[in-house]
């Protein structure tokens, strides 16, 4: 089949048919477009089906979260971290409280750390399910979307029992978590769910989508991000690992209690095409779901007893003066929080380094020379969330 490599034959720049003048077509993709995962806007310059220039225009969901961080106190701002990556809010909570705790130098109870890991990994699975679903949708496959949402609902149920919210939780606080395990059956239900997911549902997705011939044709050798590019653009998460780099903050820069667990880091291998193509990035996510299941099982098996809050819930957090950058692995990649504190109740400055923001930048380079359909595949495989790009 076609290789997906498009030769730039220079047609766009000159009059290739004598007497007929041609120019590039400017195409405005978004902010309301089904393939842009929210309100991203891409300005394209195309010659027929081939894209010559991609310019992402951001800010359609700029919600001023960094300004708000300077106005509300540390505990209140956890609410806003939920709304960054609203597909994996627990991971965002975790990133923020880790940063605050780094400055506070507070000892978090073991039980709280385990609960954080479990909820964050469940959130990661939910986020990856949506990533698979929307990527399938970009490829024109409707049905996997519905299946993935079906399984996601189960995760939301579990987290709702834990945290009280269906989608956005506000669950973690500096120094611990808000609630303990809700009832005796919760742990068993989580284990049942991940067993079901591992044994049956992942196989369904693989049959329906991953190893579908058309799907492979659409994604293999498409949108290749090589290792050098991925590192230069500071790509992280599945995008970096899809390019074959074995890097994961959970293992290489451990935070929380991840050092206690045994898990693998799936990387892109170029099974179906080149290393770093859309299929690799997609498959890294599928395999990460399996690893997340492993982590959850270990964390629940070794769930210690004891307190789950180092700081009482009704106490206002004050952070000593100083500045610290802390990073954690979210579903999309490395979330960094750079917090500057003046010793008060609110942060003086809180810069958020969001993974999607950095991952999306690579489109400017890799999107050139692709076909319009491949650009949709590329943007879909990056799995961006506009909430954390625009903040």
């Amino acid at each position: 089949m076609a290789t997906g490599k498009i030769m730039n034959n220079g047609w766009a720049d000159q009059d290739h048919v004598p007497g007929i003048k041609s120019e590039l077509l400017e195409l405005n993709m978004g902010p309301q477009h089904p393939a842009t995962h929210g309100v991203l806007r891409l300005l394209l310059k195309t010659d027929g089906e081939i894209v010559y220039q991609v310019t992402p225009v951001l800010g359609y969901l700029h919600r001023c979260a960094e300004k708000i961080a300077e106005g509300v106190n540390y505990k209140q701002w956890v609410v806003y971290t939920d709304r960054f990556d609203y597909l994996a809010p627990m991971c965002c909570n975790h990133a923020y409280v880790t940063a605050v705790e780094k400055l506070m130098d507070v000892e978090v109870p073991e039980r709280a750390e385990h609960l954080r890991v479990v909820t964050a990994e469940l959130s990661r699975i939910a986020s990856h399910l949506i990533a698979l679903a929307t990527f399938g949708l970009d490829m024109g496959a409707w049905t996997p979307l519905l299946y993935c949402f079906r399984e996601r609902e189960e995760i939301l149920n579990l987290l709702e029992r834990m945290a009280g919210g269906r989608m956005l939780y506000n669950y973690m606080i500096p120094g611990g978590v808000r609630y303990d395990v809700p009832d005796d059956s919760w742990v068993g239900d989580v284990l049942d769910f991940i067993t079901m997911l591992e044994r049956k549902k992942l196989k369904d997705y693989n049959d329906l989508l991953s190893y579908n011939k058309i799907f492979i044709e659409r994604t293999a050798d498409v949108g290749v991000i090589d290792e050098a590019t991925a590192k230069a653009y500071a790509c992280t998460g599945p995008v970096l690992r899809g390019s074959g780099v074995k890097f994961d903050c959970r293992r290489d820069d451990p935070y929380s209690v991840y050092h206690k667990f045994d898990f693998e880091i799936p990387v892109g291998t170029g099974e179906m095409g080149t290393v770093g193509d859309c299929w690799d990035r997609y498959m890294v996510r599928v395999r990460e779901i399996e690893q997340s299941c492993r982590i959850i099982r270990q964390a629940l098996d070794t769930l210690p007893d004891g307190s789950y809050q180092a700081i009482p819930l009704n106490k206002i957090v004050k952070v000593p003066a100083g500045a610290a950058y802390s990073r954690t692995e979210s579903a999309k990649g490395e979330i960094g929080h750079y917090i500057i504190s003046d010793g008060g109740q609110t942060a003086f400055r809180n810069k958020v380094r969001s993974p999607s923001f950095c991952n999306l930048q690579v489109v400017e380079k890799v999107g050139v020379g692709q076909m319009v359909s491949d650009l949709v595949a590329l943007v879909g495989s990056l799995d961006i969330v506009l909430g954390e790009i625009d903040r």
Binding site: A2, H33, G136, G140, L209, R218, M371, S373
Partner: protein, 351 residues
């Protein structure tokens, strides 16, 4: 048509009519009938599509409208669309914009004339029936191109360009796949093609010889592409081109495209039934009680197959689509023609 005119002649008041008058009256009745069937099938199939999609996606689909499983859903859709505001964009090419949906509808309506519903019951019993169907339905391409161009919208233009390339290309394997059958029947008359398949399921062309079997699947794939449905819905490609060639169409004009899509879907399914699946003959010889009903049921089953494919597979890319057509399907269908011909000669079937 002959049946209808002779029946009309028997009616009081029509007896004294001239032949021409009878013909015109019959034609008007037939055209109205066909249009009704077409509108009806659009209504039935939109409902069916949503139910089938729901079934595949483990949900219900329409449940409330009309109480029983939302049977009135498509009727409500159509009535609502009738009441919508009709917008013609200020920058659009108005003449073409208005005419395009009509042309698309006309293209599919014309083709319905040669469908053999039952023995002797065809709106226009033409000697070149099959040829006529393919010729008439290719008008749809012009309509889609007009719609995309006149909308003055870049997405619509993309959709139209893709659609034109796709439909023009896929007409070739579509027609080529039926040629082995024509070799067998020696006729392009739709009635003759069905009559040649009398005598149970083993006499249907799809099971006559291996080449015909391959030709049937080639026809099926090409027919999906010809009706612009997933996984070949290039002209619409909801996740890439917003809504493709009908991005700017509202209300009634959009309904025409909608109607034509489902009419075309049923039409290609009926042609598949007519050419390969034994037309109105039942699978067991001697059980041909209701020929028209058998014919329609087979058609609906084919439509179901089509929907099943649509809701299961991802979409192919536009260049892969072209590759599939020109480098795979056309050679294979040509091979089918040769192979089927050789088999006919060796088995002595060629007259």
């Amino acid at each position: 048509m002959e049946i209808l005119t002779s029946w009309l002649q028997g009616l009081p008041g029509f007896g004294g009519m001239s032949d021409q008058g009878l013909f015109i009256t019959g034609a008007v009745i037939m055209a109205t009938l066909m249009f009704t069937v077409m509108a009806l099938c659009a209504i039935v199939f939109t409902w069916m599509e949503r139910k089938v999609a729901g079934f595949i996606q483990s949900r219900y689909g329409p449940m409330r409208t009309g109480r029983w499983h939302g049977w009135a859903q498509a009727i409500a859709d159509m009535l609502k669309i009738l009441g919508k505001e009709d917008i013609i964009p200020a920058e659009a090419d108005k003449g073409l914009f208005v005419f395009a949906p009509l042309l698309v509808l006309l293209g599919s309506l014309l083709a319905w004339a040669a469908v053999p519903w039952a023995p002797g019951f065809t709106a226009a019993d033409l000697d070149l029936g099959l040829f006529y169907i393919f010729a008439a339905s290719s008008m749809v391409v012009i309509g889609i191109l007009m719609a995309g161009w006149s909308s003055n919208n870049k997405w619509a233009l993309y959709g139209a360009a893709r659609g034109a390339a796709q439909m023009v290309s896929y007409e070739i394997p579509l027609a080529l796949a039926t040629i082995p059958v024509i070799l067998h029947t020696g006729s392009l008359n739709t009635q003759d093609i069905v009559i040649a398949q009398q005598g149970g399921i083993w006499h249907w062309f799809v099971l006559r010889d291996p080449f015909l079997f391959v030709a049937f699947w080639m026809y099926f794939i090409a027919s999906i592409a010809e009706t612009n449905r997933g996984p070949f819905d290039m002209p619409e490609t909801e996740s890439e081109l917003v809504a493709g060639y009908h991005t700017e169409y509202t209300g009634m004009r959009f309904a025409f495209f909608f109607l034509a899509e489902y009419a075309n879907l049923f039409l290609v399914s009926l042609i598949a039934v007519m050419v390969f699946l034994g037309g109105w003959w039942s699978p067991i010889p001697g059980l041909d009680f209701a020929p028209a009903l058998t014919f329609v049921i087979k058609g609906v089953l084919m439509v179901f197959l089509n929907m099943w494919v649509r809701w299961t597979l991802p979409r192919v890319r536009v260049d892969q689509l072209m590759y599939l057509c020109w480098k795979v399907m056309i050679p294979v269908t040509l091979l089918c023609i040769v192979g089927s011909g050789i088999l006919m000669i060796t088995s002595g079937a060629a007259g």
